[in-house]
């Protein structure tokens, strides 16, 4: 065995390569970039949720000091609207309603924050000053700020020609079979819930710089994006009609995304278009208030569900009716979130034989809603795992036992669910057992009693979850309405001296790809991690790519690299065979060494690389020089991480404050490449899940004003709101990708919210509550405790 020392391959917590630049202030985020002659854009946004624009007077702004240009919707009318990347069909087979999403408002504004005009000046301040002089004559219209208001008879029409503000009315499952199962059930449990609307709030606000080379006609867009090639495709082809060869999109260091930086946003088109028109670079950077009213929000479902059980607590059927808020326009991938990323997950980890789910997607006068960490899967998991606890209470079966009785057994894989997905692997009993042991579930009652002596209400909650990620087989998603393929691209470039550059279509904005991907290469090719450079985020450097979301980077992007390494090794074997005068079939490869089987004749990868680039003694008739291979990898299936999260909370009955005092996560994310990074991903996801469960809520008033529109009003989790998060992994390998990996980016945010709320409900068990809506704020909890006390007193 030829082992690299120290071993830096799969399974080792290698310290991150990217850290040094971030720790020394040398990261390069979009707003850090300065282009020569740069101008600054400021976007004037609607203060109204719904209004007709009668007139816009920009004369004073045009004449303001430092102003280069002022544009309104009229100037951009000739360019396309922002496209939607996924088309859902209604129950009757007709396509969803897909209203135009203008880059700048055309005649009407439909949410607070809708862009109305852009001022470009020689400084940010002057652009902002000038924007204040723009006079917009708004005729304010009644707004529909909630789905209930938008669906009510006589509701204001947000888009002309879209009846009842309904985007689509979709369903999945066999209703007749489902109805029959309910009719035969011994017990039916019902549950209603609102999945709270969230603001992703990546710490780096969105930013974009447009640049244009007047001599070559080449456009460059620097942008805070999770998927620069997708932006190039959407903006180039649908909005600005720029051929790919003339449009370069660069997503440099990006300060977190969580989904919110997947989408193609108006500002990207504005700066790209304006830079060409002005012949000068144009930079736009959101301030946080703009982020709140222009970044796509997440979640926002209202759901009614019923669960049918037999007398032994075996689930017979699940029926779900969900309304999903789309906001005022369709963001890039919005329509697929409450359908194919939600309803198809409703089997969860259980053997439910029949599921019927109906989803109505609704337009409202609010910021568009799209995928946010987990996207659809947290909503499905929250519903299922609350439903399991409600069912346990109503049937008198222990909540852990009820889950066990319904688990898909570890020997039942591949497992076909009634809602389209086929799970390849999993072991839910084991992740549950391990989590119960780690969290000392058995010893909980003693802790509850001890807390009670201190005047605190202590509760414990469990969630056993599953998600589908590693998005996704192109043919499958295509048949479901995706307007893109979801493969990934990887290039392995072995240089003449044996160092390696990896080009990947995935994008890292916190995930540590530069390290994890280097480990993959190091593990297989035997090159030290320090000599493997990972390049991402630039359409001019990377052949193609679909980007990072849906926990796909390793499962899909890593597999593309693996395939490219296959090609490198295959070619290397031919060169090695030639050099060692052996048959190709006799050449073996292991971690950087080519060997003629059964002999001590070897060649290192470095020697082969040098020969490939200096092909003096080379099978030139048979193969080309060079050692540089690209692979496109299209996944065969989704991947299915799952596991168990256990939360323990303490409530102060005097204030209603909930503290998560212990959190245990045991996740099956498939093969783990870098345990340190996986733990960090899970901890970060859990923090966002606890944020959803206890703190975060994007609240609109009835007029469509965003009440939680700043970090003063929207409660972001802080260090003292969160516990230490114990993370362990229990691995079953993914069976259909070459790495056996599943994905770890979203599990934390998916599994944790119901664990926390189950714990809160458990803590309040003496107060007659069967459910607490998210976020479980002190106000809500105190109200419950107070009402419970009153009831007890009466």
């Amino acid at each position: 065995m030829n082992v690299v020392a120290p071993f830096e391959g799969i399974g080792v917590s290698v310290k991150r390569k990217e850290d040094l630049r971030f720790l020394s202030g040398r990261g390069q985020y979009t707003d850090d970039i300065v282009r020569p002659g740069q101008t600054y854009a400021y976007i004037l946004r609607s203060p109204h949720a719904h209004a007709r624009i009668n007139r816009i007077d920009t004369a004073a702004a045009q004449a303001s000091p430092g102003v280069v240009a002022v544009y309104t919707g009229a100037d951009l009318a000739a360019i396309g609207g922002l496209p939607c990347g996924w088309q859902i069909h209604n129950k009757d087979g007709s396509p969803m309603a897909e209203p135009k999403h203008p880059v700048l408002a055309e005649g009407k504004v439909r949410h607070v924050g809708d862009p109305v005009a852009v001022v470009i000046a020689d400084s940010r301040e002057r652009a902002k000053d000038a924007a204040e002089t723009i006079l917009v004559d708004y005729e304010v219209l009644p707004a529909a700020a909630t789905m209930q208001a938008a669906l009510a008879p006589g509701a204001p029409a947000i888009h002309d020609g879209i009846a009842g503000n309904l985007c689509y009315d979709w369903h999945i499952g066999d209703k007749a079979v489902n109805d029959a199962a309910f009719a035969a059930a011994a017990k039916v449990v019902t549950f209603e819930t609102t999945n709270n609307r969230l603001v992703p709030n990546a710490m780096e606000p969105r930013a974009a710089i447009g640049d244009y080379d007047t001599t070559t006609g080449e456009h460059t867009l620097f942008t805070t994006s999770q998927n620069p090639h997708v932006i190039r495709l959407l903006m180039g082809a649908f909005v600005l009609q720029i051929p790919e060869s003339k449009l370069r999109v660069v997503a440099p260091d990006v300060g977190g995304g969580f989904g919110s930086k997947i989408y193609h946003y108006a500002e990207e088109a504005i700066v790209t278009w304006a830079a060409a028109r002005l012949g000068r670079p144009v930079k736009w950077t959101a301030d946080r208030s703009e982020s709140f009213m222009s970044d796509a929000h997440g979640r926002d479902h209202v759901t009614k569900a019923s669960l049918a059980l037999d007398a032994n607590g075996k689930i017979l059927a699940l029926r779900v009716h969900t309304q999903a808020n789309m906001g005022a326009y369709l963001s890039t991938f919005a329509p697929c979130v409450p359908t194919y990323l939600y309803a198809t997950l409703l089997a969860g980890v259980y053997t439910t034989p029949t599921i019927y789910c109906e989803v109505k997607a609704v337009f409202t006068n609010t910021v568009p809603v799209d995928a946010y960490r987990g996207a659809g899967r947290p909503e499905a998991t929250f519903l299922l795992e609350r439903l399991m606890d409600v069912a346990a209470k109503e049937t008198g079966i222990d909540r852990v036992e009820l889950r066990r009785r319904n688990f898909i057994p570890a020997d039942a894989f591949p497992y076909q669910t009634p809602v389209a997905l086929q799970y390849d692997s999993g072991d839910y009993q084991s992740t549950l057992d391990e989590a119960l042991a780690t969290a000392d579930w058995a010893g909980f009652e003693a802790r509850r009693a001890e807390a009670a002596r201190r005047g605190k209400l202590r509760g414990i909650g469990v969630s056993t979850y599953l998600e589908a990620c590693g998005i996704a087989p192109s043919a499958v998603v295509g048949s479901l309405g995706a307007r893109a393929g979801l493969y990934e691209v990887g290039t392995i470039r072995v240089h003449p001296t044996g160092s390696v550059t990896v080009l990947t279509g995935a994008h890292s904005h916190g995930q540590g790809h530069e390290t994890t991907f280097a480990q993959l290469v190091s593990d297989r090719l035997g090159v030290p991690v320090a000599q493997v450079d990972v390049v991402h985020g630039d359409t001019a450097k990377i052949p193609f790519g679909m980007g990072t979301y849906g926990s796909r980077s390793l499962a899909v992007g890593g597999s593309a690299m693996f395939k490219a390494m296959d090609k490198i090794i295959a070619k290397g074997k031919k060169i090695a065979a030639h050099l060692m005068e052996a048959s190709v079939d006799d050449v073996e490869f292991d971690r950087g060494t080519f060997r003629v089987a059964g002999t001590d004749k070897t060649k290192s990868l470095g020697e082969i690389a040098l020969t490939a680039y200096v092909p003096h003694n080379y099978p030139i008739e048979e193969i080309e020089p060079g050692l540089d291979e690209t692979a496109f990898y299209d996944p065969k299936n989704f991947t299915y991480p799952g596991g168990c999260h256990i939360a323990e909370v303490e409530i102060d009955p005097d204030t209603g404050r909930v503290a998560v005092v212990q959190f245990t996560a045991v996740d099956d994310v498939g093969r783990v490449i870098n345990p340190m990074i996986v733990e960090g991903q899970v901890q970060g996801g859990v923090a966002q899940g606890i944020g959803q469960a206890l703190l975060e809520h994007a609240v609109y008033d009835t007029n469509g004003q965003l009440l939680s529109g700043s970090m003063m009003d929207y409660t972001m989790p802080r260090a003292d709101d969160l516990p230490n998060v114990g993370v362990a992994t229990h691995t079953t390998l993914c069976t259909h990708n070459p790495l056996g990996v599943k994905g770890c980016g979203e599990v934390g945010a998916i599994g944790s919210p119901p664990a926390v709320i189950n714990a809160v409900v458990d803590a309040l068990r003496d107060y007659g509550v069967s459910h607490v809506e998210m976020p479980a704020t002190p106000d809500r909890i105190w109200g419950i405790i107070n009402a419970g006390r009153k009831m007890a007193a009466e």
Binding site: S13, K15, R16, E18, D19, L20, R21, F22, L23, S24, G25, R26, G27, Q28, Y29, D31, D32, V34, E125, N201, A202, M203, E204, P205, D253, V254, G255, G256, F258, D287, R288, G510, Q511, G512, P675, M676, I677, V678, E679, G680, Q681, Q683, G684, G685, A687, Q688, S710, M711, M712, M716, P717, R718, A719, D720, L722, N724, V725, A728, T729, G748
Partner: protein, 169 residues
């Protein structure tokens, strides 16, 4: 336009600024020290924390003119000239206390001041409370807290070397 003279990372600068220019704008846009970040507009996130005369300050909350005559240290000025990292930087790397890196400069600057102000050492709870002014959306703070706890031992001379992070299982 008024002038401000200040030392940043040991180098003296005299710059003309508008009355409304914030210190963070001076640092980022005039001095091109873009390690200091802006994450909010309500003084909530702490991405902009720098040291002024050794104390941590949110540089988005102070006018450039108010910093006249002061000594400012930013994240770029923390490591020794030979590149040796400050123990806090070292600890953040060792404990994987950063992901996207956007909150990191402010977090490191705030953490150093926090530790310096507590020579007797900080408990985990005190560290969490001490980070009240800094937001991180990526890490869930778990590893940030661990990094600060490890760095304080080195900063206060209780250990000569950083305690290594436990190998993840």
């Amino acid at each position: 336009m008024p002038q401000v003279t200040l030392s940043v990372n040991g180098k003296s600068h005299t710059v003309e600024v508008e009355g409304r220019t914030l210190l963070v704008e001076l640092l980022r846009e005039r001095l091109r020290l873009t390690g200091t970040h802006v994450g909010c507009d309500t003084s909530q996130c702490g991405a902009c924390v720098v040291h002024i005369d050794g104390e941590s300050v949110k540089s988005c909350t102070i006018l450039a003119l108010q910093a006249d005559g002061t000594q400012v240290t930013t994240i770029e000025g923390l490591a020794k000239p030979d590149g040796t990292l400050h123990p806090m930087q070292e600890a953040f790397r060792e404990y994987h206390a950063l992901q996207c890196g956007f909150c990191t400069p402010g977090m490191v600057m705030a953490a150093i001041d926090l530790v310096q102000k507590h020579p007797a050492g900080l408990s985990e709870k005190e560290i969490r409370e001490g980070l009240e002014g800094n937001l991180c959306r990526c890490t869930g703070y778990h590893n940030i807290v661990k990094a600060i706890a490890a760095a304080q031992d080195v900063m206060h001379g209780r250990r000569s070397e950083l305690a290594r992070a436990e190998a993840a299982e």
